[in-house]
Each structure stands twice: as structure tokens, then as C-alpha cells.
């Protein structure tokens, strides 16, 4: 479970987070929806302790990130944007490396890597170097990295960007699986359909603030619109930076 309370962060002259508060529950997929520049990435980075909030707290499974960043990070898996692959490593090496960094022993890491490779059907590319991988292959590798250590919370930063349909579907299936397993899944996106299709809860952000929280249906009702898209535009007051 991820809880964010009253986060405020100023980067340069921009108020990136402005008294931001929300929570993402276990067994739910929570979407962080907002236009470009709304503060989604800043928020996620704050969750990992990479950015220090000016005020407010970020809790991961009730561990305060500011107080015990290592402990908090142990409960997290990150699917970053961009993926940050090591081109000269194979997916197996890459996944295993991060598994170990997440605290697994080498043996455990190898087993977990093998499992996740099977789970994501990566066998055909698992021992090729990442250089030259397609976007879908990269996504799968990055995703494998994010979940290999079975973190209770999985954070995805713009996970569907640049993905083809097949990859998007696969990602969706995985997220649903994770949800079914009781993980807390939090992803940021500016893609409406994706959020609508997947999310149990949507947190709509704009200018570093939470504009609205609720299930897609609730949001539609709240704004009196038929589609989430319309609801969203209504909520943030503009359609700038939103993709359908």
C-alpha cells in the first residue's frame, strides 16, 4: 500500500507537487492520470526517495520513505520510463542483477529470474544481448525487472508509451495478474483508454495537485460526462497534454 500525504515540492520556480495526498491500495490498480507536467513523475520519484519533498510524507507499506529509504524501496518494484536497459547484458543477466540489488541472494535471484522469464514468455530472447531489441521486448525485460523480486508494490511510469497492441495487451494481463495476487499497482499515464480499461481507482493530477479521485465510473458521474475523457477534460479544465 502506498500512501502520500501533503507532498509539496518545488523544482526551480515550478511548484511540481502542491500538497498532494492520495493512497493506492493493495489488490487494486491505481492510475495516476494527468497531463504532461502535472507532476506524475516527480511524485513517483519522491516515492523512491530520489527526490526529497519540501514537506509531507510518502509511506510504502507504512514505511516512511524519508526515514528508511532502503526499507521502503525493498517493498517497491519500478518499471521506469525510459526502460534503462543495459544493452550489453542479456535480459537474464539484467533481471538477475536487479533481483540481487533488491536483496535476493544470487541463488534466489537466479530462480526468480527463471520464473519471471517463463511468466513473461521471454525465453526466446532471454540470453541475447538487449542491443537491438524491439520496444516490446524491451518493455517485457523492464517489466520482468520490476516484478522479479515479487514486491508488494509495483510502480509503472508511463508503461504503455510506444508499445504496440500486443505488448500493451500483455502488459495489461500482467498487471491484472499482479492485482489478482494482491499487489498494489500504481501507474502513471496520460493515456485515457488504458486508465479506463485497467484502473480500479484513478487519481487525476494537474499542476501538482489531486483534482479528483475515484473509479472511472465515479469520475464520469462526478462530472456528469459519458466518457472518462470528457470527465478528465472537465476536471483539469483543458485537454492539453492528454492522449485518448
Amino acid at each position: 500500500m502506498i500512501t502520500v500525504a501533503n507532498l509539496t515540492k518545488k523544482i526551480g520556480d515550478v511548484q511540481a507537487l502542491d500538497n498532494l495526498s492520495f493512497s493506492a491500495e493493495n489488490g487494486q490498480i491505481t492510475g495516476l492520470l494527468g497531463p504532461n507536467g502535472a507532476g506524475k513523475t516527480t511524485c513517483l520519484r519522491t516515492l523512491f526517495g530520489l527526490l526529497k519533498p519540501d514537506s509531507g510524507t510518502a509511506m510504502v507499506d507504512n514505511i516512511d520513505v524519508a526515514i528508511d529509504p532502503i526499507g521502503a524501496k525493498k517493498q517497491l518494484g519500478l518499471f521506469p520510463d525510459p526502460f534503462g536497459l543495459y544493452e550489453r547484458l542479456t535480459p537474464r543477466e539484467y533481471i538477475c542483477f536487479f533481483a540481487e540489488l533488491s536483496g535476493m541472494s544470487r541463488k534466489q535471484a537466479k530462480e526468480a529470474t527463471a520464473n519471471v522469464i517463463a511468466q513473461l514468455k521471454l525465453e526466446d530472447i532471454s540470453d541475447r544481448r538487449c542491443k537491438g531489441f524491439s520496444q516490446g521486448q524491451r518493455m517485457k525485460t523492464a517489466l520482468a525487472q520490476a516484478i522479479v523480486h515479487q514486491p508488494s508494490n509495483i510502480i509503472l511510469d508511463e508503461p504503455t508509451r510506444g508499445l504496440d497492441v500486443m505488448s500493451t495487451r500483455l502488459l495489461r494481463d500482467i498487471l491484472l495478474q499482479l492485482k489478482a495476487q494482491g499487489h498494489c499497482v500504481l501507474f502513471s499515464s496520460h493515456v485515457m483508454q488504458e486508465v479506463a480499461a485497467l484502473c480500479d481507482r484513478v487519481i487525476v493530477m494537474a499542476n501538482g495537485k489531486v483534482v479528483a479521485i475515484g473509479s472511472p465510473d465515479e469520475l464520469c458521474q462526478q462530472t456528469g460526462k459519458d466518457s472518462l475523457e470528457d470527465a478528465f477534460i472537465e476536471l483539469i479544465g483543458t485537454d492539453e497534454g492528454i492522449a485518448a
Partner: protein
Amino acid sequence: MKMIFTMVRKELIDAARDKRSVMAGLYYAIGTPLIMCGLFMVLIGQLSSPEDLNIHIKNANNAPDLVRYLSNNGINHADDEQANKITLTISDDYAANMAKAKQAEVLLVADNSDEKLQKSINRLERQLQAYSSEMGSIRLIARGINPSITQPIKINVQDKATADSKGGMILGLAIFTMMYSVFISGMNLAIDTSAGERERNSLALLLSHPMSTRQLVLGKIIAVTCFALLGLVLILLVSKVAYPFVPWQQIGFTVNISQDFMGLMLLVGIPVALMAATLQLYVSFMAKTFKEAQSYLTMVLFVPLALSMAASYNIAPDVLQWLPVSGQQQALMDFIKGRDIPMMQLIVSSVATLIIAVALAVGLEKSLKSEKVVFGL
């Protein structure tokens, strides 16, 4: 500790597969001694085979004894283009003046700015001088005078140099190349693992994992240090094999890369490699891109290399023997010259090196906690 080990292993695997890093670092380590040896072989070949020197002698008939004397010392008359570059003309009144103990003239015409000729010109002049002074001595004998009186002072020289130390200049150069290899070998890895890591966006991912910045920094430092030391080991091995092939003895000394020296070089190299690694990582993390890091590093590395070079050519003030890099280099040179190792200087400079390394590592750790450095904000 396990984290650091995992980091190091990944960095090394990654680096080993990076042809650019491997080439740049190890090419240098393997290539430099070979190139140096090749050059010295050619040089020594020119220096030490006092092949017969052919010159153009005009009016040789005016001084047959002189011509024979020169020929006996390997200086002969020839008429080809090369020989014509040095012309020795014996004056027409040579014999007449000689007979009256007037100065008999010979004329040497050559271009002394032609570096290839300089040696030959010197050699010819030396032989002419020798002939002249021998004749002067015999003239004194013919007059009942002991020729030794023309040399009032007998200069006795006791050179403290040993056979090993005579090769000191060469070895200074060799040590310089070794020091250089410590800096060069790890450089590409350092850039790749810092600026490159950020360029690939993997830095934030790394930092998102449950490891401390210190572990990350140490992992990278150790990986780069390993590469630097690998370069050092390689250059030592290649030097050990290559240098004996050069016929140093023909120019009067030996260049022996002994196992003792290799051991000491390696030992001394460890703090230097650590410092090189932290310095390179520090500078590269400051840069935003791979290219930028490369150009920064080229500028920054000039300092330790200048220190090393200054020490190897002995052109520097005494304070250099206390400074990092140059201090170690001088100690190594003293060792190879068979002198006592200046332990005090070696310790001070090595400790200074380590202090710099630690300071840079601490700085690095701080900077990686800074949002600006990590995200380039």
C-alpha cells in the same frame, strides 16, 4: 558488501563486452610497450652499429696517413649521394704546413642542422681531433718532451650509477607509460558507468533499488579500479616480455622489469588506481553526456599525467616527490635504479593519493544524493 560485489560483477561484465572500453584501455596497455620497444630497437640499431661512415674526401692524396687513420676507424671515402653530404677537403698545402709544424688545414663541410648527420659529423670531428692530438704528442716526444705535461689534470670519475640505473631514463619512461595506463585503462569504463549510465537512464533505476548511494559509489569505484589495475598488470606483463627483446646492452645498460619491480609497481598502483577511478567517476558524473565527460576528463587527467611526466624527466622541484603520482613515480624510479626507496615520500604520497580518493568518493556519494546530479535538473 554483497551489493557492492553484485555491482562490481555487473560493471565488469558490462565493461568487458564494451569493445570501446576494452580497446581503449587495453590496447594502450598492450600496445605502448610494444611500440616503445620497436622504436628503441630502431634507435639502438642506428646508435650502436657504428657502421662504416662514408664521407666524401677531397684531395685524399694530400694526406694518405690521415685518410688511412680515418678508414681504420670506420670512416671511408665514397662518392654516392649519402656520402656527399659530408665533405672533408684536405688543403693543398696540408703536407707542406705539416712538415713545418704549421697548422695544416682540413675543411669539413656539412649541414649540422640535419639531425641525421649530427652524429656522423661529431664522429668525424672526434676522429680528426684524436689524430691531431696523437700527432701533437708524438711531436713532443720527438722534441724530448713528455707529452703528459699537456694534460695537467687527470680527471678521475666515479659514477654512482649502476647497470640498472643507467637504464633509468628508459625506465622512467616505462614507469610513466605504466602510470599512464592506470589512468587510461579505466577511463572509458568510468565514463560509461557514470555519464553513460545516466544517458541510458539506468542511473535512476539503480538508485530506485534498495541499496545505499555509498554501495553504488563503491561498486563503481571498485569496478573502475579493477579495470585500471588490469591495464597495469597487462602493461607490466607485456613490458616484462617485450623489453628484454631490445638490445639495450649495445648502448651500455640493461632494462630489467624484475618481478620485485612488478610487485612494487602493482602495490603502488593500487592507491593510484583508486584515485584515478574516483577522479574519473567524479568528473564524469558532473558531465551530462558521454562526450562531455570525455572532454572534461582529458582536461582533468592532464594534472596527474603532468606530475608523472615531470617526475620521469626529473624536471620538477623537490616538492613533487611528496605529491600524489609523482611521489610514487620517483620512488619507483629510485627502486629500479637500485637506490633505497624513499619510504617517507612513498608513504606520504600514497596516503595523499588515498586521501584524495576518499575525499572524491565522499563527494561522489554526496553528489549522487543530489537531485541535480541524478536527474540533471
